[in-house]
Amino acid sequence: MHYSSLLIFLCLQLLCSFGLKAQDCYYHLHGKVAESSNGLPISYAVVQIKELNKGTYTDSLGHYHIDGLCAGTYTLSCMRIGFESITQTIHITNSDVEQDFYMTFNPSIFRTIDVVEVIEDKNVFIHIHTEFDKGIYTRANNLGQALSQLNGVTTINTGSSISKPVVHGLHSQRVIILNNGVRQEGQQWGNEHAPEIDPYTLDAAQVIQGASALQYGPDAIGGAIVLNPKPIGQQKGWSGALNLHGTSNGRQGTTSGYVEFSPEKINGLSARVQGTLKRSGNARTPNYFLANTGFIERNYAAHFQYKHKRFDTGIYYTQFNTELGIFSGSHISNVTDLMRAIESREPAQKANFSYHIGYPKQDVQHELIKAHFNLNLTDKNKLQFSYARQFNDRKEFDHHSSSHNQSTPELQLKLTTHTANIDWYKKSARNLMHRVGISGMHQANTYNGRYFIPAFYQRGIGAYWIETWTKNQWSLEAGLRYDIKTMEVFIHENKSWQTFNHSFQNIAAGGSALYKPNNRWRFALQMGTTWRPPQVSELYSNGLHHGVAAIENGNRELQMEKSWNGALQAIFTTEWIEAQISPYLQRVDNYILLLPSGSPTLTIRGAFPTFQYSQIDALLYGSDLQASFRLTNSIRTTWKSAVLRAIQTSTKEHIYGMPSDRHSLRLAYLFHDKGIFKQPTISASGLYVNKQWRVQNHNDYMPAPNAYWLLDIECSSVIHIKEQVINVSVGVYNAFNLRYRDYMNRFRYYSDELGRNMAVHIQIPFSQSNKK
């Protein structure tokens, strides 16, 4: 840990030495983009300064801001699909400039800009996309919760502080998470192992399916979640932001900030340091505190980049550290205790508020270092090299009695992963884009303490080839990928170490088509086949799973999982409505899951139900629906629904552990600017989560929890104090303090979900240009 503080110190020192060279480039350009016919704001219009090759998007209210401009004359262009582009010359002499654009709607325009759009957005089938705005930080406590803002993405939770994203019912090994282009490699097999990523480092998230996802691996059966860090080097000089966040439930406090520097005199050089500190105490349900649910998180990131016309290179480093308490009431030793916990409706162990983290607990460190070198052979021909090393150190501590040595974890897993990629992009004259690449991976896992998964080496090599063709209303994409994965597993059996080898290889393929007949409609179709080798945990895990009172046994005979999937997406957009429907269908052969294995296992703590990893043929289908209406200029409403069915094809039984249907409605009112308050907004969201009726009750100790609905209220505004902008948002979640349990929370047996929570989020961006 102290190395990281040293790192931040050194970087700050370094940045200070550069800071002295600041120049007079602090002018601010801003304005509004609106429709010429009715004055309605246009969001996602691109405003670009041609000379500087610098640009930005307008926000939902049509506003844009560009900072850090030097005095001079610039050519400004404003573009949006379906509108005529505008070019305007502006002069910046000695003050900030305001420039509004009024765009004229022209349906025939979309064709010319379409090409630009596809190039920018090289993935044809983006299922869903979200920006990590201040609202997400107000609502979400961790990455999983932030991602669940995406329609079709839910979370699987362990208590209140551990969340993992679930995409269309699939999670863990079936979802690839890419953090800054690097595949996240933690102990992802465990439901109680959340992705070790600080959402404050991120700018946007996308869920990618179809051919483009092949670039990231063959095993994105649920999809690839692509997380993009905040782009670096957007403005010269100093800049940064400070985020402050507090909640009433858990009395959580978060401070997160970053400082970035791009020296005036050296074009293309930029560096950033980022840090997040988070602390939370015991969370509270409507009726009682949850004992030992506090956590501490300390995250650091550093980013260095040098961009030249012909190449760019950079290093990205992040460290994620968390120490989190596991709700004491969930530590049960046998089935009798579990049944008692279920019957008692309230945890036997009473608690008050405390920040103290006792036992059981998890202590996890995740470190990522990535270096990349991109060679721009020509403007349309790029070669990219990247290497990343990840180190994941997970310590799990059981419930201790006082006399035992508390510093030694009962289970410690260390996972080191090296990945290397070479990718080549080329846009050819015939509307084609080629993407070819190879990737290699080497992974080593060791354990100390209790056996749950063995020590192993895992190696993989893969190559992909994706072609994208774009012309007029059409975009077509096809991709192919071949991978070889090997495992070398070390098991202590019959008093000696035995080595087991596994090798898997297969082809993954996919194709997508995008058709935009006019500027109102957009249709996308995606079909593909992917595969996933069984994980070491599924092959070799063995033992008692605390918390669920079950013995889980691996199965060394497991075969690879194969998926055949298809999805359709239809989007309809007018000035007043934006509606999207995305049905999907996926067949997974040899779907790996835990099934009861007949006779219970006798132990000193009584008999435990026993599960074994088995394979079935599964069919998953469903649809996501989303519609936004602009009822008036100041009232917006958004409706979202996600529906999923998952069945075992041979028996027609429903598959265990799938999210139930959910629907939400959000109503937002936008006020007029008032004094220092700009864009004040108030919104109310209702979320209805149905009971998971589609379960096999004999597989569970407790029937699925009842349906529930929650009301959240949020207010936000941008406050302008002189040149300083401050984003403030306040939210009340579970406003009625309703008592409920969620089927996707593994602690549903033991406790209710959280009660009312009030959160405040303040974001203070700063840059050299607005401090005169």
Binding site: L6, L269, S401, T416, G449, T603, G606
Partner: protein, 191 residues
């Protein structure tokens, strides 16, 4: 390119710092794991032995054992005896707990005795003509490592032996705490 030097310096320092921050962390390789996996699961109890001695010294002493050396899961328990008792006899029962997954075996009953104020044995009898009372104490409440078994007429049934771990919540009853042991022994009483 006059800034090449500073870029280079910047870059070098960055790499250096990161190098320091990240080195020496993956020195353990899967293929040189320790020759015997370390087990420090202190809570592991593999063996419970009931030793019953006739208070009048007439009947032979009785032992009944539960043994599952590799802990929950894995191999099935190697011993799970029935308790054979003589009718109309009073026995003194002592419970021995062992962790036999380590060598030498650890005596867990000594640890239980050290933490007597956190532990309680509970006995539930079904059908058998048998009465059990705990005969030891932590100073305030009973423990149950020692007990007296008063056997009635010939019959058969079960005795459920439970060890509760009750840190800070021990109140003499079996309700609070976590279950460390829960074993259902068959009991056979003959004349």
């Amino acid at each position: 390119m006059k800034h090449t030097k500073s870029i280079f310096f910047f870059f070098l320092l960055f790499i250096l710092v990161l190098g320091i921050a990240s080195c020496k962390k993956d020195d353990q390789k899967p293929d040189d794991m320790p020759t015997h996996p370390e087990m420090h699961d202190e809570e592991l109890i593999t063996t419970l032995i009931l030793t019953l001695e006739d208070t009048s010294g007439i009947q032979p002493s009785v032992t009944a054992t539960f043994r599952d050396v590799d802990g929950p899961g894995g191999l099935a328990p190697s011993a799970f005896d029935s308790i054979y008792l003589k009718s109309h006899t009073t026995y003194n029962c002592a419970i021995t707990l062992l962790n036999e997954s380590v060598e030498p075996a650890e005596n867990i009953s000594e640890e239980v005795l050290e933490e007597a104020d956190e532990h309680l044995f509970c006995f539930t009898i079904s059908n058998a003509q048998l009465q059990i009372i705990r005969t030891d104490s932590d100073g305030q409440y009973e423990i149950g490592l020692n007990s007296q078994w008063t056997v009635g007429s010939a019959s058969s049934g079960h005795v459920l032996v439970i060890l509760k771990h009750q840190p800070d919540v021990k109140n003499g009853s079996c309700e609070p705490g976590e279950t460390d042991i829960e074993l259902l022994f068959p009991v056979l009483i003959t004349d």
